[in-house]
Every structure is written in C-alpha cells, then in structure tokens.
Symmetry: C2
Subunit: 408 residues, 2 copies
C-alpha cells in the first residue's frame, strides 16, 4: 500500500466467522513485496455459489472459467492471486488457472469446476505456474487467518482493507453474511481491479443466491464509478454454506427470502461504497440521486453520465456548485430528458427548478455542504417515476499523480 490512506477510509469492521468457511493467506511471491499475496478460502461440502462478472470482452481466463463454472452452482474453494492479473496472456494464462483448480481439487477431492480462482495485478504476464504451485501447496496446510488478513491479502493498490457484514432472519434462524472486497477504481494502476466475495451460512439454492446477487449488483456495483473505466477482471462471488440450518430458501416465495436478499443488498452496497471511498485521489464521496426518469434504468444511466463527467467531478473537487455542468451531463446521457422540466440541487437544496435557475437561490448553504466529505447531487427529470442513486468520488490532482506521474 504505497499511497497514503484515503481520507474517506473506514476502519475494518468486526466480521463474524461463517460456519463452513475458513480463510488462509500465504506468500506466493508473485511480486517482490514482503507480504502475503495468495488467499485460499475453503468451503464445506454443499456450498452454493453465484457470481457477477465484468462485461469487458477482453476479460481474463479467470473470468471466463468463473462465469462458466458458477452455472454449476457449487463451490468448495476460492483462490485469489494478488500482484498479477493474468489478463491478456492467452493459453499460457489459462493453463496457470487450470493448474490451480486441479491442484486444489485434487487435495480436497472435488471436481475442479468447484474451485474458483481470481487474479489481480499487472497484465500481460502469464501467472507463473511454479510460484502458483508452491503458493497453493503452502496454503493447503496453512493455519486459518482473520478476515482482515484476507482483505489485506487480496488488495493491491487499495489504501485500506475493506469488509462488510449483515444478518437476516430466515424463519427463526439468524443467518450472517461476512464479505471482503478490493478495488480502488474501476481500474487501478496495472489493471488492479474490483474483486468481491460474500460468505454466508444461510441455506439457499444456487439459483436463488444468483437472483439475490444479480438484483443487488444492479443497484450497487453497477451504480459506482471512479473513472468510467471497466476492468477486465471485475468479479463478485457469493458463497452460501447452509450451516445456519435454516429451511432452505429456493426462491422469492420462500419464507425469509426477501430478508436475505435485503441483507445481500446491504452488504453489496457497503462494499461498493468502500471501493468508491478508496477511489484514486478521492477527497469527497458523491451520491447522485436521479428521480422523475422514464424508468429506473434510464435514471441509472443519467446518474452514471453525471458520475462519469470529468467536469462535474473536478467541480466537486473545487467545491463549486456548478449546476450548468450537471445540465450538460443530463443532456449527453442519451436518455429522455426535457430541458424545461429539469431540476438540479446539491445537498438537498434546489439550484434550478423546471429548466430555470431559481431567482432566490441562496448559494451559502450549498457552499457549506460542498465543503464536507459527503456530497449529494439531486436531479429530477420531471418525466416519470423512474429513480436511481449512483456513487462516485471527485477527480483530483491525486488521480493524475497516481496514474500519470507513476511509471510502470
């Protein structure tokens, strides 16, 4: 962690253990750094798995294989390599992933399709098979570690370890989710990327776990942006061991299903916010709320056009309530909008209503709001019932320093 800790960092929370889940970390030595870089998590037999993956068509072999194997619904282990993303490495990169899957599967005695692998770090260099083999060998006999150790070990350019937890009642049974994530930009230097893992003791079918994760993803990970760039390796996996002993949840009609889905959503939202709070160079956390759109998806797209606008992100960095730039971003989003129905506010105070600047607009409370660390931008399109909130950070000299002053 070469850069100073983000001013928006949160302390690592107390994450409960999850029955049937055991994390371990070891040092494979993928890079010449004095820290652990291989995370190995074992999952008891019968663990359900679900996943969401990057839409980048130049994705890594890890993503290709994960996307395929998650459809089979079962997992026994997770391996995360840090320091090498293994992306854009052709057949040699794929061989390295399959080697890890086979090595772990041979040890556990499970189909290799139940071993999930992620890698993050430099691209274009195939993951060294010898280092992977030795690292995994050590991991298979390693002592269990804490969640915080695991969160630190999957990290690359992150400036703080990230975790989240939530509980839900399924019938009379409390189920728990503990989760970790890494990422400090949709892409960080050297293709570091967003990798997130949720672990729960709930008994849920793979199909329902996927439905809950996909729904949460739409409103959380798909609603954050640091720099508009999309990683080749983004992956979020959810694992459910079933050890809590609740009556299995197989669909939204099952008792407790909505409570569980809400807990998944809660954890995903916490994780997504943590990634933004570690955005490269971030000094301010920005929530963009769009209402009055023709649909929720249209609202999300307008929100992302605002959250991706360098001119808006630099204006917030400069503590400037530049609502004209918000008008511009709404107009360029490619979604239905009407200049003369548009309202724009900051910190809950309207600056413009229905296409006109407010005559009695008092900038003083807005200016005070913009001096804080948590900024909100409100947009009402005045067209329909669609709404969405998306999150981003400001664009500062720190972003340029990290990405330009840096030499690979």
């Amino acid at each position: 962690m070469a850069y100073p800790v983000s001013p928006l960092a949160s302390p690592f929370p107390a994450l409960p253990d999850i029955a049937g889940v055991v994390p371990h970390v070891v040092r494979a030595g993928y890079k010449d750094w004095g820290r652990c870089d291989l995370t190995y998590v074992t999952l008891d037999e019968g663990t359900a798995v679900a996943g969401v993956f990057t839409k980048n068509v130049c994705c890594s072999s890890e993503v290709d294989l994960g996307r395929e194997n998650v459809k089979l619904g079962r997992a026994r282990a997770l391996v995360v390599n840090a320091g090498n993303s293994n992306a854009f490495t052709g057949y040699r990169g794929r061989e390295a992933v399959e080697q890890i899957m086979e090595q772990v599967a041979g040890h556990i005695g499970c189909p290799k399709e139940q071993v999930f692998v992620s890698s993050t770090g430099v691209i274009g260099v195939p993951l060294p098979k010898d280092k992977a083999r030795e690292g995994v060998e050590k991991a298979l006999s390693a002592e269990p570690c804490s969640w915080e150790d695991a969160a630190n070990t999957i990290a690359t350019t992150d400036t703080f370890a990230k975790g989240a937890t939530a509980t839900a009642m399924i019938g009379d049974t409390k189920v728990t989710i503990s989760a970790i994530i890494k990422g400090s930009g949709m892409i960080a230097p050297d293709m570091a990327t967003m990798l997130g893992y949720l672990f729960t003791d709930a008994a849920v079918s793979p199909e329902f776990l996927q439905a809950a994760l996909s729904a949460a993803n739409l409103r959380t990970f798909s609603c954050i942006t640091v720099d508009s760039d999309t990683s080749t390796s983004d992956t979020v996996l959810a694992f459910a061991t079933g050890k809590a002993g609740n009556a299995p949840v197989t669909g939204f009609d099952s008792p407790g299903a909505h409570a569980f889905a809400a807990a998944v959503h809660d954890v995903c939202r916490q994780l997504a916010h943590l990634v933004v709070r570690d955005g490269e160079g971030a000094q301010k956390f920005i929530a963009v709320s769009v209402s009055g759109a023709v649909s929720d998806e249209s609202a999300r797209k307008v929100g992302m056009a605002i959250a991706n606008s360098p001119l808006i992100k630099t204006a917030i960095a400069g503590e400037d309530a530049n609502w004209g730039r918000v008008v511009m971003a709404v107009g360029k989003a490619g979604e239905p909008a009407d200049r003369d129905k548009l309202s724009i506010g900051f910190g809950g105070i309207w600056a413009a209503r229905e296409g006109l600047p407010l005559a009695d607009y008092d900038e003083a409370p807005v200016a005070a709001h913009l001096k804080g660390q948590d900024i909100s931008i409100e947009v009402d399109l005045g067209l329909g019932e669609g709404s969405a909130t998306v999150w981003t950070c400001d664009l500062t000299h720190g972003y340029i320093s990290i990405n330009a002053d840096y030499r690979s």
Copy 2:
C-alpha cells in the same frame, strides 16, 4: 485568455478573404472584460448554408433555431456572442436570440430565418437583451475586421486563435475556404464550447454543402474528444457565397464535387485538431488509429473508448506505454473485439500482437516516441476492414487545475 498558451498551439494562418463575406467585431460588454465579444459576419445574397449541431438534448435556443433554419438553406448574416452561452434560460433566452435575428434582418432586409446566432460562455443567465441590442447596433455600422480578430472574438477560454484554409478546383475555377473555430474542450469552464464557421466563395447548393459538411463532420469533429463531455451549444456552420463563379455544384455527380468535399474535410480536420491542441491542460496530441474492425463506425467507437479513457490519457501524460490500459478500453467499448486477435502499438511499433505481448518487444523506441508532443496509438482488432482515426490530448494536472482549482 487567462491561461498560458497551450504548448501545442499553432500560429494563426494567413486566411484569404472570401468574396461576399465581411467579418466585423464590436464590444457588447456581455462580461466585464476589456475586449470585443460580439462577432458579426455579413453574407451576400444567395449564400447557401449548412450546419451540424450538438446531440445534447439540453441544447440552447441558438441551437434549436439554427437547426431549424439551416433546413431552409439560405443565410445573410452570422452573429456570435461570447461570454454568455444563453443555455438553460428558457423562454427569456429564446426571446434574446429572436430579438437579434429580427434586428439584423430588419437592417439587411431579409427573412429573420437567414440570420444565424451562436452564444458561448456562462450558462443559466439569459443573454441581456439591452447589451445585445446595443452591440448589434454598433456592429451594423462597424468597419470590417481581420479573420484573426474574428477568431479572437468568438473565443472564451481558448489560449490561442484558431483558423484554417483550403482550396479546391471546380472545373477551371479555384474556390477557397476560410474558417475559424473556438473551443478548448468539448466543454470548457462555464460551458464554453466548440463553435466553428466555414466560409467559401464556391457556388454549391445548400443540399450538397450539407452533404459535404455532414460527411466531413463524421470523420473530424465527431472524432475528437478532450474530456468525453458534450456541450449544449456545439455548432459548426458552413456558408457558401457562390462568388467564385464556378458551375454550381449540386451533388456528388457535379464536376469538382469531390475536390470541394475534400477541401471541406481538410478544413474541418485542421479545425478539429486545433481544438484538441487547445484541450484543457493538454501537453500531448494523441492520434488513435483503429483498424481491423467490423465497420468504420465500430472502429470509431473503439477509438473513442480509448481516447476517452482517463487511465490511457494519464498514462500518455506520464509517457508510459501502458498497453494493458488499451486492452481494457477496447474491451469496454461494447463493440465486437476478440482478445486473442488484438494487436496494440505506439508510434508504429507493436507492443502486443494477436492477443500476446511480443516476446522481443523493445520498449526503448516506444519510450522515445512517448517523450514527444505528437503521440500515436495503433490498434488492430483483426476482425474486418473497418478503420477510423480519432484524436485527443493527454489528461494532466493542468486539466484539474483549470476545472477544480477554479471557482465560478
């Protein structure tokens, strides 16, 4: 012009006079600055007009009216206001534009639809009608000015005046194009924007002029980006007085049509490059050439995904041949691409071919290329015959300083 002149600036070229076109500049006092801010260009009777306009749905009244009136095909005057964009000002903004159109039309004795108005500068403040009326009144009796004066007067945050010229032979007649443009970002602070004007003595029909301008626009203005933001006021107009006396060109079958269209393309390309060269904070001019795409339009979209990527633009600022970020941008463009057929180079030297880093890749000549001011990035998708070149600049601390350190 408050900022230092761009290191990529070009001297203003010697622009020939165009028969039937007379530029004038006066001071309307839209802002409290000691310079002219209203440009008035008269056009002889029979002048054909064509135009391309921003796709931003929150566009200004000037754009609404211009888009409508350009369809009628004829122009007698152009008025450009600098210092106030008159965008997001509702009916009051529209009234100010119509007042200018009527005032000029009354003086010339032409339909008001033949008077074209553009405005650029702060938004949300209706153009003051009294200042506009007095400014236009002065302009109607002002002495003619030079092209360079006109180019300086339409400017706002530009750091240098921008002009371009080209000639073509239509039959035995030489026709000339002189053109000016302003812009230093798709959006500059306070919604300053790209406004471009081409003037020619060629005799061409409005329909053919529009066809030539639209075709050129697709390969020039639509292929540049500074910060991915899209202005509410972007406008390029072409005026043809017919004074050269050539046999009128009415379509691509007319003699000289292709030569004229090539000259229009040439001028548009020069103007587009000048805007990028004045990009906020730009230190390097970047050409991104994409080949092997399934279509030209697909190639353009991939090129724009690369040219809009903050991570690539910061890497170039840091003189870092970070081809991994180019892989990422290709993959996120949403266009057909195959990781294993992708080739990427800098300055004409391949770094990766067909999905793999080159084993004998020598970074030394690439590093030398990246130290220069004119950078090229080459991408071959290996899929088809589509190609495109787009242009952008690097993303530097200067961009942040201009847009964040600045307070409106």
